[in-house]
């Protein structure tokens, strides 16, 4: 183990990391911002013809224009994305993340640029699932480590609190498209996904799915920085504020999502959020 650490330390030294200074200053000095994206969240960030596009890409180009820097964009699976940020492998998580209690303990969130709801999606031929209580004994799927992962567990707890049996099982997949494939192929009975994802599924294969109901409060979509990178977060928020004020965000929502959703400047964070305590 010592050997690995030594090798790695050496390696990291080679790659070069000056992590004492302010991240925003460093970005500006190097002329490059490195962001991580999970490009499997249509229409916010996804890959088409080998390129990452979507709502987030438009926002990212606005942000980098404001900063006057180049973008290096990494594509990685969602469960690694926040921990990679903590490990300083990139400056910013430029992928849609919902500020929930678990995450807000460790990460700072930008002003949201869209609102989503937790929707329950079933195959189009299913007539049995109409409301929450119908999910008792049902095999439910969602994405591992996503906001809906936490929501799903909350739903299950609520079902049991009401005296139901709860889900027959909660199956966790590596990405949202994975949940859709598995719903389509009958591997699960229902999936819990963000409304935007559900709309996207409906667009891609309109005959396969039905959106049944929504659960809980609307959730917001933000980008994420390390809590100590206040200057970077402020820069990002000022870009988002500018775009909201000019109506550009609404335009982008229309273009990519198809519907508009308002997002607040404050109050989108859970009470325990680390950035509120600073």
């Amino acid at each position: 183990m010592k050997n690995i650490l030594l090798t790695l330390a050496l390696f990291a030294a080679l790659v070069g990391a000056a992590h004492a200074e302010d991240t925003l200053a460093k970005i500006k000095a190097s002329g490059k911002i490195t962001v991580a994206t999970e490009a499997a969240f249509k229409p916010f960030e996804y890959v088409e013809d080998g390129k990452i596009i979507g709502f987030g890409s438009d926002l990212l180009s606005e942000f980098s224009k404001d900063l006057g820097v180049q973008v290096e964009q990494l594509d990685l699976p969602f469960q690694g994305i926040l921990t990679g940020l903590a490990a300083k492998q990139y400056d910013l998580v430029a992928t849609s993340v919902t500020p929930n209690a678990e995450r807000a303990k460790n990460y700072a969130f930008s002003r949201p640029f869209a609102a989503i709801e937790n929707t329950i999606v079933v195959p189009s031929d299913d007539d049995t699932i109409k409301q929450l209580s119908d999910l008792n004994g049902v095999l439910v799927g969602t994405q591992l480590g996503s906001s809906t992962d936490a929501v799903a567990r909350q739903m299950n707890d609520e079902l049991k609190a009401q005296g139901g049996s709860g889900f027959s099982d909660l199956r966790l997949f590596q990405s949202y498209p994975d949940t859709a494939f598995n719903l389509q192929s009958g591997q699960v009975d229902a999936i819990i996904v963000p409304s935007i994802t559900a709309a996207e599924f409906m667009r891609t294969s309109p005959d396969a799915f039905k959106i049944k109901f929504t659960y809980g409060k609307p959730a917001y979509l933000s980008w994420v920085t390390r809590p100590e990178d206040k200057t970077l977060l402020e820069a990002l928020n000022s870009t988002i504020n500018r775009l909201i004020a000019s109506g550009k965000i609404a335009e982008m929502q229309k273009k990519w999502v198809g519907v508009n959703s308002a997002t607040p400047e404050n109050g989108y964070l859970p009470d325990n959020a680390v950035q509120l305590r600073q």
Partner: protein, 221 residues
Amino acid sequence: MKYILSGIETVPLLLDGLLTTLAICGLASILAIAGAVVIVAARRSHQRWITAVAMLYVTLMRGLPIVILVFLLYFGIPALLDLGRISAFWVGILALAMNGAAFQSEVLRGAIASLPKGQMEGSHALGLNRFQMWRLVLVPQVLPVALPALAGEIGFLIKASPVLSLITVVDLTRRSQQVTMQTFDPLGPLLAAGALYFLLIGTIGWMSRMLEARLTVGKSR
């Protein structure tokens, strides 16, 4: 059948992923062989602790899944040591090389062990120094034995490389997943990626067999 057709259509979309896989495996192989030589040298060292460290390293690498090694290197250790940004591409190469070096050092050790004892004694008797002995006498004999097996190890390296799709690297595997998410075709891109891997690994295996056949020609048995 329909998926085979869609898979064939997918192939051009996967080529940049294939290139990344090739680049990673190529670089990792070179590093692995260099690392293997260092490990073998360490294991032959007269300093007991160097030998012990080398052995411990090989044991660790043989016991740890490459998936966990990559997660530790990419997520775990940077978080622990508060390292700055590290590149998934290079971490991937490092992980494959670290793993490959351990296995290839075993191949080299085996090849060296297969040399007749008299070769070293003969070299000493002729007054060759250590370096000359290795360069002039031993290496030319070790290489033909070790090369085919080392080439085979590169095949293993390629088979392990999809692990990098689990971190940021857009290699052949991740590229095929991206295409799947884009086209909602659950099988075609995977079949295409599988076929490309098969061709790649099969070619390496074929080359290693050719090499073996060529190198054993003219050797008296």
